[in-house]
């Protein structure tokens, strides 16, 4: 039997963090800037934390900021369940419990150096992708062309307005947006995010492609990328699953033999060839 190991830390014990700033970005998405009360969070683009509210429970939330941003870290939290509804009521100065960062499958910040990068985001799929996008913008010379395709259901669900506006004004990032449902104040593309893929055909030949969005989106984006002959080795999917522990024990996030919490959440698509539950 295994050695007694009294010096190990409790893997389920949250550490306190203080909320510095909050901002509602649309009807459901709350932006939050936090700092750990003890030691600063060291993380990589693609990692997530378990956010804990005493009395209600924990939720796994992607870190949205880039580690190049030195002070604190940012989360974007959709109001959708018990825990997140409570988080939405918190104000600057309030505390949250944080465990993590978790996830050994992160964005390939080294491997993708020198390549074109294409981010395909659906809705709040932008949140985790933004960590790597801003990392690239802060290390801009290390990477070639940067393209972000963003599909949102309807215009009032768009968020990070000023950041998207700033990206659009820069010439070293190509942001193309679309919305599924058109309304009077939208003059841009209309249609699902896959309709944007033909527009960037030229970028795809040598690109690393990163996908994050609602479950239904992956299949269609992957079909479109297959048509564009993007090899599976250069496609990375950021997956969401139900999670309780974040440390590979509780079994909820398992997809066949992989655990999203410890093997992901970012997976190279070619590694998922024998993981039919993934997509």
């Amino acid at each position: 039997m295994s050695q007694s190991c009294a010096t190990e830390k409790d893997i389920y014990l949250p550490r306190p963090a203080t909320i510095n700033k909050t901002r509602m970005m649309n009807f459901t998405e709350l932006y939050m800037h936090l700092s750990m009360d003890d030691v600063a969070l060291e993380y990589k683009p693609g990692q997530f934390v378990e956010v804990s509210v005493a009395g209600l429970g924990e939720v796994p939330i992607s870190i949205s900021s880039s580690p190049t941003q030195k002070d604190g870290f940012e989360l974007v939290i959709r109001k959708i369940g018990n825990v997140t509804s409570r988080i939405h009521k918190l104000k600057p100065g309030d505390k949250l419990g944080i465990r993590g960062p978790y996830g050994n499958g992160c964005y390939p910040i080294h491997e993708s150096k020198g390549k074109n990068l294409v981010f395909i985001c659906g809705g709040i799929g932008l949140v985790p992708q933004r960590s790597f996008i801003n990392y690239v913008l802060d290390n801009r010379d290390d990477y070639a062309n940067l393209t972000v395709l963003l599909g949102t259901k309807c215009t009032n669900q768009r968020f990070f307005h000023s950041e998207l506006f700033a990206w659009r004004k820069r010439d070293d990032i190509n942001l193309i947006e679309t919305v599924d449902e058109v309304d009077d104040c939208w003059y841009g593309n209309v249609g699902v995010v896959t309709t944007l893929i033909p527009k960037i055909e030229a970028e795809l030949s040598d690109a690393c492609v990163f996908i994050c969005g609602p479950p239904i989106m992956y299949k269609f984006v992957l079909m479109a990328l297959a048509e564009s002959k993007v090899p599976n080795e250069r496609i990375f999917v950021n997956l969401e699953r139900r999670m309780k522990c974040g440390v590979g024990k509780c079994g909820h996030c398992q997809i066949n033999d992989k655990y999203v919490c410890i093997d992901g959440p970012v997976f190279r698509y070619s590694d998922l060839a024998s993981v039919p539950e993934a997509i």
């Binding site: 409790d10 009395g55 033999d257």
Partner: protein, 345 residues
């Protein structure tokens, strides 16, 4: 290693001696069945049992346990069950399951809650005397066990051979004052019990080696058997709850009546249950019963083995067969059907 012999009476006084100073949990009759529970008198101990309703995993991962206590303002404190106890009557297949759980909870991310309980336990295992109706441990290579226990008892007819395998076991066995030396003959008889159990604990013989199973399942993902069996599955999760190697859990917060303090609790969960993979917003990733049914069998014979050096995470206790309401849980009938249809190279 220290090996002694205890007569029936010597065992009773040994256990009574333990009861005078230690917390003892042991196998006892429960109606016409058996289960582990707190032992009050050595005469209640039933080492002749066939199978317990629940496996002894409940002592290391209880159905409900407190991981943390907290103040609702957000101050958290780890909570550990730190009580020493002796567990008597663990069958070899259950011991093998505990060994697997020890690996899973200690490797990668060390789970101090499980391991604290585990390190506080002294396990007195015993070889099987009465095969249960649905046992197939002989097929799984788990009819006898070589490690994990502190003491192993084997009934050889005219008493028990008691072998202490650890320091904890040796110090405990030294309290068996009526124990005598074992003879060559006793050890021979013990070997005969082992040899026999490796044959007879096999009411559902597997038609291949357990080590063939991961490879077999590689080609069985689309086999119609999953749909066929799951047609009558209630998704009740009974197979999960009684399994000695099912360890998936949920975590829930309980709050005290004054809303000031509370406990974060770990609770048994089951991959067969509807909602196991459901996320906020309602999307369920493994929504089909057949997919959940298949997932359990794949976890036992492919996914978990990959994490613990190839050992199959089904120890052949047969509890899922006993518990299943519609008689579809028998892993052997599934694996054998796959062997017939797909074959082993």
């Amino acid at each position: 290693m220290s090996v002694k012999k205890l007569s029936e009476n010597a065992l009773v006084s040994f256990v009574d001696c333990l009861l005078s100073t230690e917390k003892v949990e042991a196998v006892q009759a429960k109606g016409d069945k058996f289960d582990f529970g707190p032992l009050e008198s050595a005469k209640d101990l039933r080492l002749d049992y066939d199978i317990t309703l629940l496996p002894p995993k409940k002592y290391f991962q209880p159905p409900v346990e407190t991981l943390l206590t907290y103040e609702t303002e957000g101050v958290y404190k780890s909570h550990y069950d730190n009580e020493r106890f002796i567990l008597i009557g663990v069958h070899p297949y259950d011991m093998m399951a505990i060994n697997q759980m020890d690996k899973l909870f200690s490797q990668d991310n060390y789970d101090e809650h499980y391991m604290t309980r585990r390190n506080n336990a002294t396990i007195i295992a015993c070889d099987v005397e009465t095969p249960s109706k649905n046992v197939f441990a002989s097929s799984m290579g788990t009819a006898t066990v070589k490690d994990g226990y502190d003491i192993l008892l084997t009934n050889i007819g005219d008493g028990y051979v008691a072998e202490a395998a650890t320091e904890k076991g040796r110090s405990l066995l030294s309290k068996a004052t009526e124990a005598v030396k074992v003879s060559e003959q006793d050890l021979k008889k013990r070997q005969q019990v082992w040899d026999k159990n490796q044959e007879v604990l096999n009411n559902h013989p597997l038609k291949c080696k357990p080590s063939d199973l991961p490879k077999l399942l590689e080609k069985a993902y689309e086999h119609p058997i999953w749909e066929e069996k799951a047609k009558t599955c209630f998704s009740c999760g009974s197979c999960n709850q009684v399994c000695p190697t099912c360890y998936c859990f949920n975590v829930q917060d309980d709050v005290s009546w004054d809303l000031k303090t509370g406990e974060r609790k770990r609770i048994w969960d089951g991959c067969l249950l509807d909602g196991f993979t459901r996320v906020a917003g309602g999307h369920e990733f493994r929504a089909k019963r057949a997919d959940r049914f298949r997932h359990r069998l794949y976890r036992k014979a492919k996914y978990v083995p990959a994490k613990i050096g190839g050992q199959i995470a089904c120890v052949g206790c047969g509890r899922c067969i006993n518990a299943c309401l519609t008689d579809i849980a028998n892993p052997i009938s599934i694996y054998n059907k796959l062997v017939e249809d797909i074959g082993i190279d």
